[in-house]
């Protein structure tokens, strides 16, 4: 088993005929993801990715024709909020928005609408999720994974790859790796993903990769202390040396008014029973020491 993406995924890629969309759609197909449809308004009836994927004008048509239940969005920032709402209205249950640069205030009504509809959004500005050996949705390189029982959740892109690669190199496989995105407003929080891992019998341990800014790591720690007490938990927090008041790349990563520091996050995670690595390379050893075997 796995969370969010897996064998029952039937994926539609919104923005499939764009450069990014087509490139990653091909990588997903090659990974074995059940990618059943693409959407580009005005290109309905064409086929994308060397003719392997039918393209529709609307998500509703794609769902009707192919039974798609998951969407991956590569639409530019100006159109991405609308693409999410279109997916929700078409009955898509799980939506990954890869698009970066969406203004935060644009996302506020969108996440409210997603929630009201009972759908799930991961991102925006997220790398997606992979359930190794089953399916990958998004842009995480497939080759870094190894099937296994550790659930990985992260606010970062390449830092996640770093951590996952280290695990794979050490022979520790993953149940699902989820990048939730670093934007200020995202559809799924650490807690939302941990809740799914907690309910997944095939996820035996947790790796959480956080960074400075906000309080998502502290909230995740508090939740994990109550609901994941019995599972091995390892964490890493980026930005221990970041100065206050300067934004580190993402809109999310900023320490302000003394809040959102790495120290606060590390303390909260340790208090909740996480082993906290001081380099991504330490994660496999910490997992081993917490009792993880494969």
């Amino acid at each position: 088993m796995s969370i969010l993406v897996g064998r029952s995924t039937r994926l539609v890629v919104q923005g499939i005929t764009g450069r990014e969309g087509e490139f990653h759609a091909r990588a997903m197909l090659e990974y074995g993801t059940p990618l059943v449809a693409g959407v580009t308004p005005g290109k309905g009836g064409q086929r994308a990715v060397d003719g392997r994927v039918p393209v529709f004008d609307t998500v509703a048509e794609a769902v009707e024709a192919t039974g798609a239940n998951t969407s991956c969005i590569f639409v530019p920032a100006a159109g991405a909020p609308d693409a999410i709402l279109e997916a929700v209205a078409a009955g898509i249950g799980t939506i990954f928005c890869i698009t970066e640069g969406i203004p935060a205030l644009d996302m506020i009504p969108v996440v409210a609408a997603v929630e009201a509809a009972g759908a799930r959004l991961v991102g925006p500005n997220c790398p997606g999720a992979t359930s190794p050996g089953e399916a990958k949705v998004g842009i995480i390189p497939g080759a870094i994974h190894r099937p296994g029982r550790v659930g990985v959740v992260s606010r970062s892109g390449t830092l996640t790859y770093e951590a996952v690669q280290a695990m794979t190199d050490a022979g520790i496989g993953q149940s699902t790796c989820v990048g939730i995105g670093g934007d200020p407003i995202v559809g799924s929080s650490f807690v939302d993903v941990l809740r799914l891992f907690a309910a997944d019998p095939e996820t035996g341990a947790i790796v959480l990769i956080g960074e400075i800014g906000g309080s998502a790591e502290e909230e995740a720690a508090a939740w994990a202390a109550d609901h994941l007490a019995d599972r091995p938990k390892v964490a890493f927090v980026a930005g221990r040396t970041a100065p206050e008041g300067r934004r580190m790349g993402h809109a999310g990563a900023i320490i302000s008014g003394g809040r959102g520091t790495a120290a606060s996050k590390v303390a909260a995670l340790e208090a909740a029973g996480f082993l906290v690595a001081s380099s991504p390379s330490e994660i496999p050893a910490l997992l081993r020491s917490a009792g993880v075997r494969d």
Partner: protein, 402 residues
């Protein structure tokens, strides 16, 4: 993007909020002229305030009162000579001084946990909200605006009552809603009025009245939304901006200058911060945060190299590219070309992971560039390389770079 108080006030005024008149002056005589106008219009005193994008200007002597044009000029001269938290004061704001009856705090900001706009208010204005939060959390009222409809009237009323502004209900409601409107109109992350002041004014018939005014204002704008607000780009304060920041922005690179000696070039913000952390852990000091973004395109690699080498403190460069899908050999070639184009050469340690990483390593080693497999190893090698270069020679002082 942070903007100056005067610009923040103009955004509030555009939404119809009560802001006292102001004038920005870049030299003492302009400050004097502004003060003369306000005195002529009936002001008893004026306030002169340093315009810098850092907090704590009050404690640093950057906010002072003046009762005459002479005094205003002298005060402005003194403030314009200040450097506050490393930022030289280049402008002052001159405004009639208010007769303050009470001070409040009111702000609208993006609340990530709740995924809503949060409006916070406190009857303890004029101090940092973090102080109030630490000392007396119950003194802060918090209301989340409706995700679709913004701050509703009843929510604004609730804030007004919580602040004890029932006697100024209509004004307080308009201001609370105005903060959220300002936020939405400009895609701001934060719109803070501190203090929101109840001021005493004397009406035309000599009758004193009390009204609410936004005495200070702080606005930060969502960088992601700036492309759709071209008029706000003009509020970027180039006085306070390092020219390299401008160059970085032009290439879509996230760059932050720091005080160390190890220049970092990384793809991904989280990985870039981690790289800095590991440099520090290996005994070095990062010279910068630098995220070249996705794809590691050759032109961006070249621009990143220029940015790093423009910092005279840099004595070694650490390149950490987790390619994933990017081809490592292309990145390696781009790096060599970029280095060749630079006059200055410093040792470079490169770690490239992903497709064709082995070929990348061969290319780099053939060009005598040190390589590393793990991130920890790369950090250690970069710190060692910087140490070999020895203490800095006659590098330019970093101030000259601004």
């Amino acid at each position: 993007m942070k903007i100056q108080e005067a610009d923040a006030k103009s955004l509030l005024a555009a939404q119809g909020l009560p802001v006292p008149p102001w004038q920005v002056a870049r030299d003492p005589s302009a400050a004097r002229a502004a003060a003369e106008r306000f005195f002529a219009a009936g002001a008893e005193r004026v306030v002169v305030k340093a315009q810098v994008l850092v907090g704590g200007r009050g404690k640093a002597g950057g906010v002072r009162l003046a009762a005459t044009p002479d005094e205003a000029e002298a005060v402005a001269r003194a403030i314009l000579a200040l450097t506050i938290k490393g930022i030289p004061v280049r402008k002052v704001l001159v405004s009639p001084a208010a007769d303050i009856v009470a001070e409040y705090y009111l702000a609208a900001l993006v609340d990530r946990s709740a995924r809503r706009i949060l409006v916070m208010g406190s009857a303890e204005g004029g101090v940092e909200i973090e102080e109030v939060a630490a000392r007396n959390p119950a003194a802060i009222v918090r209301i989340h605006a409706d995700p679709y409809l913004g701050l509703l009237d009843w929510q604004a009323r609730r804030i007004a009552f919580a602040l004890g502004l029932g006697a100024h209900l209509r004004e307080a409601v308009a201001i609370a809603k105005g903060l959220v409107a300002t936020m939405r109109a400009n895609d701001a992350d934060l719109v803070e009025v501190n203090p929101l002041a109840l001021v005493r004014e004397v009406g035309p018939e000599g009758i004193p009245t009390e009204r609410l005014v936004c005495l200070d204002a702080k606005v930060t704008l969502d960088d992601s939304a700036l492309p759709r607000h071209p008029e706000l780009e003009a509020m970027r304060d180039l006085d306070e901006e390092d020219p390299v920041d401008l160059e970085a922005r032009r290439h879509d690179i996230s760059y932050i200058r720091l005080d160390g000696t190890i220049g970092c070039m990384v793809n991904g913000a989280g990985l870039a911060m981690t790289t800095m952390d590991l440099v520090k852990r290996a005994g070095g000091e990062p010279a910068n945060f630098l995220d070249i973004g996705g794809g590691a395109r050759a032109d961006r690699v070249a621009a990143a190299m220029r940015l790093i080498l423009a910092d005279p403190n840099v004595r070694a460069i650490l390149v950490n590219i987790f390619g994933g899908i990017t081809r490592g050999d292309e990145v390696a070639r781009g790096l060599l070309e970029a280095r060749a184009a630079q006059a200055r050469t410093v040792p470079m340690v490169v770690r490239i992971v992903g497709t064709n990483a082995d070929e990348a390593r061969r290319i780099l080693e053939a060009a005598d560039v040190e390589t590393a497999t793990s991130l920890d190893e790369a950090a250690a090698k970069a710190v060692a390389a910087a140490a070999r270069v020895g203490p800095m020679a006659a590098a330019e002082p970093s101030e000259a770079n601004r």
